[in-house]
Amino acid sequence: MWFKLPKNKSTQKTILNIIFIYLSTTILLVITLSFLYITNQKEQIFTLHQEQSKLQANYIIEQLEILHDNIENEIAIYPKLDGVESAIYDIDKHLIYSTFKDKIDILDKQYLSTNNFTYFIYKVEPYYLGSAYLVIKKETTQEIKLKSQKIMLIVFFIILFIIFTSLIIVKLLIKPLSDNLELLDRFIQDTTHELNTPISAILNNIEMLDTQQLDNKNLKKINRIKIGATTIATIYDDLSFLLLNNKAKSNNKEINITNVLNQRIDYFQIIAKSKKIDFIIKNSVNIFLYIDLVKIERLIDNLISNSIKYSHPNSKIIITLNHGLLSIEDFGIGMSRDEISNIFTRYQRFNTVVGGFGIGYSIIYNIIKEYNISLSIDSIKNQGTKVTLKW
């Protein structure tokens, strides 16, 4: 496609906002200018009609005078001009004679405007044939309609042109941004492929080690290696999920969430222990959910891994699983309101001290969106965060 918006939601929003502001202001300007032009044209037509009608009125008054002077004649033929409609009224504003059928109220004005016509009113004195007012009728709609149609057509093409140019401008503006995002995505994709084999090798070999033969010093070192490798493995799982599984079709089935949760807690025990964090688990027995296994694992892993990451050392994490509810509560650095509102933005991290790519909540968002799971975050800065999922 000639024009493609970046996938990132906030970038899309910014671009759309820019297009909206640019388009709305320029279109408003064009419409205002065309409105002023049409108003000006209307005034010009009015002035032209006024001048024409003045000349016509003078002629008719002259003719009325002649008719009045020759009143002895049997009949007085009212002066009729080609394409000019007129009427005469007496001093009490009663109609004497008219070439048109419209009923109008003669007020002490110089003209009277209706939707389609303008009536120019001239005072006559002396009252030839009794006429105190002479009215000349002019049609205005047709001329203005034609001019307005012309202007609207021009405005339409100008707006099309503005839309076209705005798209070009936005395309030029977002090009560096899109290139960078694409580069980042490609880098993560390549790195992920390369990470798989070494991580598996490290973890498998650690598991195969005979810990009985190791002294305390070496056991501690092996544990640290295992923590590091587990952390990298989690990141690897997240990245490969984002790049591969997220796009694949979900393999949904009834999953025992209680079992999955316990397994994932076991998996993270080693990392939690390294920060001296205790898990307090409040589980109901066997909760089931119709979901893809990989996705529920990613969901739970990300929530637990975040809570460990942002917990204070020597604290606890309370995990509650109940029918239709899973909550994970930590006692760590917490988040501000702004941070919570930006939480689902990809690559958003709130603390650069702790590791991670800031893709955790992006994964969580995609999964809860797919399964209509609601997520609420209660957090107080420097006190902790409680994340609750409801389905």
């Binding site: 008719l67 009045h68 009143i71 002895e72 004649n73 049997e74 009949i75 007085a76 033929i77 009212y78 007496d90 001093i91 009490d92 009663h94 004497i96 004679y97 002396p126 009252y127 030839y128 044939l129 009794g130 006429s131 105190a132």
Partner: protein, 108 residues
């Protein structure tokens, strides 16, 4: 009922015509003259109401100021004496005169 109304209408027209004929046409025989009077009144007063009022005022109390005739005409011929008709009859006669000689009747 229709006949009765028609008869009343014709009768009343006849009575009013008589008022105008007896009291006005006895002196003003010339139709052109009557038409010119109306033209002069129309030129000065424009509307039916104003014209009738002006004629009524003049006939009730004729003065050179109230006359529509030129100054030299009045100076030479004077103006008519006060009408003997009561206000109602005078108004009826004026109504008939206006109806017959109003300018609108002659514009085509």
């Amino acid at each position: 009922m229709v006949r009765l109304l028609l008869s009343i209408s014709i009768l009343s027209t006849f009575i009013f015509a008589n008022t105008f004929t007896t009291n006005c046409l006895s002196c003003h025989h010339n139709k052109k003259e009557l038409k010119l009077f109306m033209a002069n009144y129309t030129l000065k007063y424009s509307s039916e109401r104003n014209i009738k009022n002006a004629i009524f005022r003049f006939l009730n109390n004729p003065t050179s100021y109230r006359s529509i005739m030129p100054y030299y005409f009045i100076k030479e011929n004077g103006y008519k004496s006060k009408s003997n008709l009561n206000d109602t009859d005078l108004k009826k006669a004026i109504d008939i005169y206006y109806k017959k000689y109003k300018i609108n009747n002659f514009i085509k």
